[in-house]
């Protein structure tokens, strides 16, 4: 018989050109073996198509989670811009104030120290997260 397994699949899936289809149907008609094979794959196909995921999807749209992820970068950008502007303005006002130089120096040192400590802890946590083998494990 002049056919291939690919022909069988294309016929089964309705992907054959009309001419090839007619030729293949002639081959099927002449071969009980091929009829049996075709019936078998058709049954498998029907059963696969019978699987439904309706309960898994019910009421669980991913949109809220996706939307939160899309909005988050915008939130971060706005927060950083706002905080930077306030920090620059606050620093300017502070430097222009009548407080004496020693007080300014001490306050600046305290603020700088807090920022440096915060940045180093954040950096350490980030480095640890990069190599954490369990970062994808959900609780």
């Amino acid at each position: 018989m002049d056919y291939s397994n690919d022909d069988l699949m294309r016929y089964l899936d309705g992907e054959m050109q009309p001419g090839d289809r007619a030729r293949f149907e002639g081959i099927v008609e002449a071969s009980t073996e091929l009829q049996r094979e075709l019936a078998l794959y058709r049954a498998l196909k029907d059963n696969l198509q019978g699987i439904s995921f309706a309960p898994a999807l019910a009421g669980r749209s991913v949109w809220d989670r996706v939307n939160a992820r899309l909005a988050r970068p915008i939130g971060w950008v706005m927060l950083v811009i706002g905080a930077t502007l306030w920090a620059i303005y606050g620093g300017y006002i502070y430097l222009q104030s009548a407080i004496n130089a020693w007080e300014k120096l001490a306050t600046s040192a305290v603020i700088s120290g807090i920022l440096i400590l915060f940045a180093t802890v954040a950096w350490e946590r980030y480095r640890a997260w990069l190599v954490d083998p369990y970062k994808d494990v959900h609780r």
Binding site: L44, L48, G50, F53, A56, R65, V66
Partner: protein
């Protein structure tokens, strides 16, 4: 979703405004979930992959040709996401079907508890068979039988020539048939 509506939404998404993305997400989350479930095998992992794929699609929207349908392009992203997840978690297809999360579609009006039970048992065996075959076989079967894609669309999603789809499908179906044989479900 109508192709022209989809194109218009994509155009508006590209111009900014995630709210135009919502109808697209809602239209594709069902088919996307089927593909993700088929590849991951359980609801939680499938949801994670689906969510991440939608975020990645949004981030890559500038590179998407708005004249083409969104579906195959999105399925390609989702398929890669599922593969990455499976790789990064060093997990394999984790079956979670022996509960109420999956069901067989009712086969018409002549439904009875016994028939439903039989259908569920058959579905369960089918999923056990899918668990046993390789990820490559599983993904092409899901794209064909659960998503109902044409060969040309499958080729686009998988990034393979049109001509190899039939051959890949044959090997996938053959593998599933053999797996079911081993489980005692004979299609011979």
């Amino acid at each position: 979703m109508q192709p022209e509506v989809e194109r218009e939404l994509i155009r508006k998404c590209k111009a900014g405004g995630p709210r135009f993305y919502e109808p697209i997400v809602r239209a594709y989350e069902g088919p996307g979930m089927r593909l993700a479930m088929g590849m991951m095998g359980n609801v939680e992992d499938a949801h994670d992959a689906l969510q991440e794929a939608f975020v990645k699609a949004w981030q890559s929207l500038d590179r998407f040709d708005g004249g083409r349908p969104f579906g195959p392009w999105f399925f390609q992203i989702l398929r890669n996401q599922c593969r990455d997840l499976l790789r990064s978690r060093q997990a394999r297809f984790k079956l979670e079907t022996v509960d109420e999360r999956l069901e067989a579609r009712p086969a018409g009006l002549a439904s009875s508890p016994e028939r439903d039970r039989e259908k569920r048992a058959a579905t369960e065996m089918l999923w056990k068979g899918l668990e046993r075959i390789g990820a490559e076989h599983r993904e092409i079967l899901v794209l064909k039988e659960l998503e109902g894609l044409r060969y040309s669309e499958i080729a686009e999603v998988l990034g393979i020539p049109d001509g190899t789809v039939a051959s890949r499908l044959y090997h996938a179906r053959r593998a599933l048939r053999d797996a079911l044989d081993e489980l005692g479900v004979s299609y011979a």
